[in-house]
């Protein structure tokens, strides 16, 4: 995609989707820039109606202001598209809610270096850290991991994780084809990667409780989550396979 022949100076980009995160984004950016100084950062302000964009600009990072709210899938795809256009080779997707610890990112980088994977998922329940879910939500996540582990041909324990490191082939794929529906951005994105012949691996990371509120434990919401997860999975798996990525190496 480097049409003008300008050599890329930086190769690694952190994409931080943020929707009305003016309270959390400043601290989150400080931490990222402190722990991961070699990475460039782009904040995708997803139609925020508060000061998210202003706070991020004040920190001196690139900001993509989406004119209206597209949902997290749209924000992430904008990040991939930006990365490809700007010639980045590695893209790290991280959440702005404080759940993901930048100090854990090196685990993902190590796994990518070792396995030559195209997509590395930062996974809870993979040895490191303690984080508990229970009830129907847990069953849904178990089922998702079982199915997606088969599809991707590797052990995946946390398929709804938003912490992901993607290599060049994955970036090119996701810039073009990234699902925008709820759960599509995590579950279906993995299916698309596997179907396109990309290598998916996971790295165990410890995660923190979200900065903004506790995750819901309502059984109704968990049941809805289960149904929507199944639906997303069923649609992703029965969709005709997309074109395979060309072998670039």
């Amino acid at each position: 995609m480097q049409s003008l022949g300008a050599p890329p100076i930086h190769r690694r980009l952190i994409v931080l989707p943020a929707w009305n995160e003016e309270v959390a984004i400043g601290g989150c950016l400080d931490e990222i820039m402190d722990v991961l100084p070699d990475w460039d950062v782009v904040v995708v302000s997803d139609g925020s109606t508060d000061h998210t964009s202003l706070v991020a600009r004040a920190k001196g990072v690139a900001v993509i202001d989406l004119p209206f709210n597209l949902g997290v899938g749209g924000a992430r795809r904008a990040g991939f598209s930006y990365a490809v256009r700007e010639g980045y080779t590695e893209v790290l997707q991280i959440d702005a809610d404080g759940q993901h610890d930048p100090a854990e990112v090196h685990h993902l980088v190590e796994v990518m270096d070792e396995t030559q994977a195209d997509v590395v998922v930062g996974a809870r329940f993979a040895g490191r850290g303690e984080y508990s879910v229970a009830g129907p939500r847990k069953w849904a996540m178990k089922l998702l991991s079982a199915v997606l582990s088969r599809v991707c041909g590797t052990q995946l324990t946390d398929t709804t994780s938003g912490l992901k490191l993607c290599g060049p082939r994955a970036n090119a794929l996701y810039a073009r084809d990234y699902p925008a529906e709820y759960l599509g951005d995590t579950v279906e994105a993995l299916v698309i990667a596997a179907r396109s012949g990309l290598v998916v691996r996971q790295a165990g990371v410890s995660m923190r409780e979200r900065a903004g509120g506790v995750p819901s434990h309502s059984p109704v919401k968990a049941a809805v989550f289960l149904i929507r997860a199944m639906l997303a999975l069923a649609i992703a798996l029965t969709r005709p396979a997309k074109m395979r990525m060309q072998e670039s190496s």
């Binding site: 690139a62 993509i64 202001d65 989406l66 709210n69 749209g74 795809r77 598209s81 709820y182």
Partner: protein, 137 residues
């Protein structure tokens, strides 16, 4: 005498379609349905015994049931077509919004000129007609 009404309906439909297409407020692909409908109405109006004949042989108890059935199927298919078209439009709008955001960010970086950040105070300076849409979760 009773067949004047169907013909009037057909003439009105075709005139409306042609006028809408001439004004370019409707694409041809949406007029296909109405054209099909008009042809059907003309055929049954020209040969009045045809309707009871067809209805009976398709197993409908009364000819009017047959007409209602065909009408509802057609409306159903049209709404499916609309759903598909709306989804495609949404996808295009989404892509445009992403590319617009990227373009603005790149312009800022290349030129060094910072455009105004979107905040509650500056939002009226930006040409958006959408009110803050609620995101899905």
């Amino acid at each position: 005498m009773s067949y004047v009404l169907p013909f009037l309906f057909v003439i009105a439909t075709i005139t409306t379609m042609v006028v809408l297409m001439r004004r370019r407020v409707m694409k041809e692909r949406f007029t296909v349905w109405w054209a099909l409908l008009s042809v059907g109405v003309v055929v049954f109006a020209v040969f009045p015994p045809l309707l009871p004949f067809v209805a009976e042989h398709l197993g409908f108890q009364t000819p009017s049931n047959f007409v209602f059935f065909v009408a509802s199927i057609m409306l159903l298919l049209m709404s499916v077509q609309f759903s598909v078209e709306i989804s495609q439009l949404e996808e295009k709008t989404r892509t445009l919004a992403e590319q617009l955001g990227i373009l603005r960010a790149q312009t800022e970086q290349r030129s060094g000129v910072t455009t105004i950040a979107l905040t509650p105070e500056t939002v009226q300076l930006v040409d958006t007609t959408t009110d803050a849409t609620e995101a899905e979760e």
